[in-house]
């Protein structure tokens, strides 16, 4: 089920009604769990079995990991959990990709091997709930948090419908304890939740689907070289589309959870205002980058094994992060580019740290009056380089990606204009406003900004979002991140 559908509106109203019945907390949690299963099954009912399997296995393995004192047995349990979770992810998400690459290698070695193409459907949200359950078992292994006491609470931790399909990726201590004691949303939480839900839907339906999807699709679907203007506008449109799509989903998820009295972690913090690449990853898909940092980058050594290994570890993390997004080499290149950017940034930072050491060996304080315009210029440079990476993220293959990059950076002979005047205007206006808005909001949150606005102005802004949402009539387009 997607948030931007009539089905969800009905589901949400029914859930709010049932969840607020004057019955025991356990009964309300059971309602929440059954509702979450219904939310998932409304997409493809059989795949709920995978979710159950993952929940049951990790609940018991997690508990055993926490209590097991024998190191060998403990490691074995962890391996069982990793194989179970990652095996399922590998089969459904990477099965076809692995086979395709295996066939390429085998054929390159001279063997004539052509197996039938596997027809594997990717269960929605598998990458998200696998990471959620994985971090639980790893935490149990490291005894970083206590096991969830009841199967009901653990099932809710994994399945709670707002975050189930596309995050935010929650950690056990962030969500599981919230199910332990009775919860009821305060009036304030409900207003904030409804505001965030309206904002998230506005971002997804009006901006991502209504304004930017079509020009991005046109440009990335073009089979010929494009005018430089068209190529850039298509890439910019996609950069806006993917932000509004995914941040819109996260905003809806946080808002829906708030309406029930729960708090989900922040997932986006105006990423196009980032003044560096590490800053970008602290603002874009925050819960994934934090997951990769804590469960991959740090365990493989992080920055503890010298500068060279730090760069290698950064690259490994970003390459796997790229592959997490999709079973295609283009995603790996996307991750590699981000890894490269991070390495270069780190190198520059290390060098400038050395040069800014004074005679006593302490770091010279940065000029407090470093002006805003320099920061904005850095943000625009980061935005420019991030846009280059989006080409590989969105392009279906390398041929299309190279053709588009060539169009972006050179004047190609016989190139074509594909975007009508209206799309040119819409993309230009929406992207400029988006970037300025990100910059203006970079150190605050939307709820903080809303709290400072007079009610009449906020009411007008809110009504404008709702009216545009209703008039958009893009009711059931699924979110881009569902495919990941």
């Amino acid at each position: 089920m997607v948030f931007n559908s009539y089905t969800f509106i009905v589901f949400f109203l029914v859930m709010m009604g049932l969840y607020n019945l004057p019955i025991s907390w356990k009964s309300r949690k059971i309602i929440l769990l059954l509702g979450s299963y219904l939310f998932y099954a409304a997409w493809n009912p059989p795949f709920i079995l995978l979710l159950w399997l993952s929940t049951v296995v990790d609940f018991f393995v997690g508990r055993a990991l926490y209590t097991q004192e024998n190191k060998a047995k403990k490691k074995l349990l962890l391996v069982v959990s990793l194989i179970g979770n990652l095996g399922m992810l590998c089969f459904f998400k990477y099965g076809a990709f692995l086979l395709e690459n295996f066939v390429t290698v085998v054929n390159a070695l001279g063997m004539d091997y052509h197996p039938a193409k596997p027809n594997i459907i990717l269960p929605a949200g598998i990458s998200f709930y696998t990471f959620t359950t994985l971090c639980y078992t790893i935490d149990m292994y490291k005894k970083e948090s206590k096991p969830v006491k009841s199967m009901l609470d653990f099932s809710l931790f994994v399945t709670f419908f707002p975050h189930l399909v596309a995050g935010p990726i929650v950690r056990p201590p962030q969500l599981a304890p919230q199910f332990e004691s009775p919860k009821k949303a305060t009036a304030q939480q409900i207003y904030e939740g409804l505001f965030l839900l309206s904002l998230g839907l506005f971002m997804k339906v009006v901006l991502a689907d209504g304004m930017l999807a079509s020009p991005a699709d046109t440009v990335f679907g073009a089979q010929k070289s494009l005018h430089t203007l068209d190529a850039w506008l298509g890439v910019l449109a996609f950069s806006g589309q993917i932000f509004f799509d995914f941040a819109g989903y996260s905003t809806c998820a946080i808002g829906v959870a708030a309406c029930m009295g729960f708090t989900l972690p922040e997932n986006f913090k105006y990423p196009y205002a980032a003044t560096g690449f590490s800053d970008f990853w602290r603002r874009w898909h925050i819960t994934l980058s934090a997951w990769l940092r804590d469960y991959l980058y740090i365990p493989i050594g992080g920055n503890r094994k010298g500068p060279f290994r730090t760069y290698i570890n950064l690259m490994i993390t970003m390459l796997l992060g790229g592959l997490w997004h999709g079973a295609n080499w283009t995603f790996v290149v996307w991750g590699a580019l981000h890894g490269l950017y991070l390495c270069i940034e780190k190198l520059i930072q290390d060098m400038s740290k050395k040069s800014s050491l004074d005679e006593n060996g302490s770091v010279a304080l940065p000029d407090q009056k470093k002006n805003m315009s320099w920061g904005f210029m850095k943000a625009m440079f980061v935005f420019f380089l991030v846009n280059v990476t989006w080409v590989f993220f969105r392009a279906p293959d390398f041929t299309s990606a190279w053709r588009l990059l060539l169009s972006m950076f050179s004047s190609v002979k016989d190139s074509k204009a594909v975007l009508p005047s209206l799309d040119v205007l819409v993309v230009a206006i929406v992207i400029v406003l988006m970037v300025l808005f990100h910059w203006r909001m970079r150190n605050t949150s939307v709820l903080q900004a809303a709290a400072k606005m007079p009610a009449w102005l906020l009411g007008i802004v809110w009504s404008a979002m709702l009216i545009l949402l209703i008039l958009s009539q893009e009711s059931s387009g699924s979110f881009i991140y569902f495919q990941f």
């Binding site: 005047s421 009504s463 009216i467």
Partner: protein, 348 residues
Amino acid sequence: MKHTPLRNALLLACGIVILFLIFWETYLRSTGIGISYDDGPELWTHKRSLVTKEQERATVFIGSSRNKYDLDIEIWRSLTGEDAIQLAFEGTSPMPVLDNLADDSLFKGKLVIDVTEMLLFSTNPEDSRLAKKGLDYYKNITPAQWFSFQVNKPLESKFVFLERDYFSIKALLKRIDIPTRAGMEKEPLFPIDFGRISFDRQNKMSDKFLKEISIQDSVKNIWSYYSRMGAKQPPPTQQSIDSIFQVIQKDVQKITARGGKVMFVRTPSSGIFLQIEQQIFPREHFWNRILSVTGAPGIHFMDYPEQQLICPEDSHLSPTDAITYTKSLVKVLETEKGWSFPNKTKSN
């Protein structure tokens, strides 16, 4: 509790939204616009799902927009006592849908295929896009999408502003007159009065459209635009045409072998449109060949004086003429083609 302006803002926002929607709906209705359904893959999927369930009491129609304008479904129901399931797509070849019905082993009902030669024999993928989108949606529909359709149906039947093709933001923006970029031709937009769509997927021209020649001419200009665009595409080769004949033959054979009935119809066109069609797709090389390779019967409008009607914009019939045409179609099916409608006596 921390005080924020959110509660008052929410109340104000709800008030503004309700007032705006009342104003917008009232304004649209005051201009004479009535309800028209969104004819997207959701509605098509709903109709497609009826095919095997209703096949004992219904005839399936596939083809392009001519079928949607020329068949008056109410008249069809009253004359046959049976339903008409309209599966045609505007501006689209019926081939993907014909393939799908032929491959559906449960389908053994009555099928009417509209022959608009320039679409049926097109090899341009764009001419199959809508059908493929509809089929894709039908094959992969989720329970959530099904439920959304059930909620949307009563809403669409009550509110004019919920018409996506003309009143969504995207559609409204497209109607702003902005100079086109050099080297690009602006895609023309059909006037709203050209096609109002019922829940049965029948298109009807409005009274205003029938009265105002200038609106009719604007649609004729759109045909010229598409004709110019079509001329830029490489013409279908004899080989591709032959292979389409082969696929049609195979598909028809599959359906008739299961006990299904197939009828080809050539719906009316007139004026310059008809002249061009006759020139590019001569009857003896296309229509006659379809009937001979498939062995299926056909009804060509040129063979029946009562079907030789004038199309206001050269390609589709007016609602009044659609009634005349449908009556004639039922009559020919019963009297000449041996089709029977067993439910007729019960219903009439």
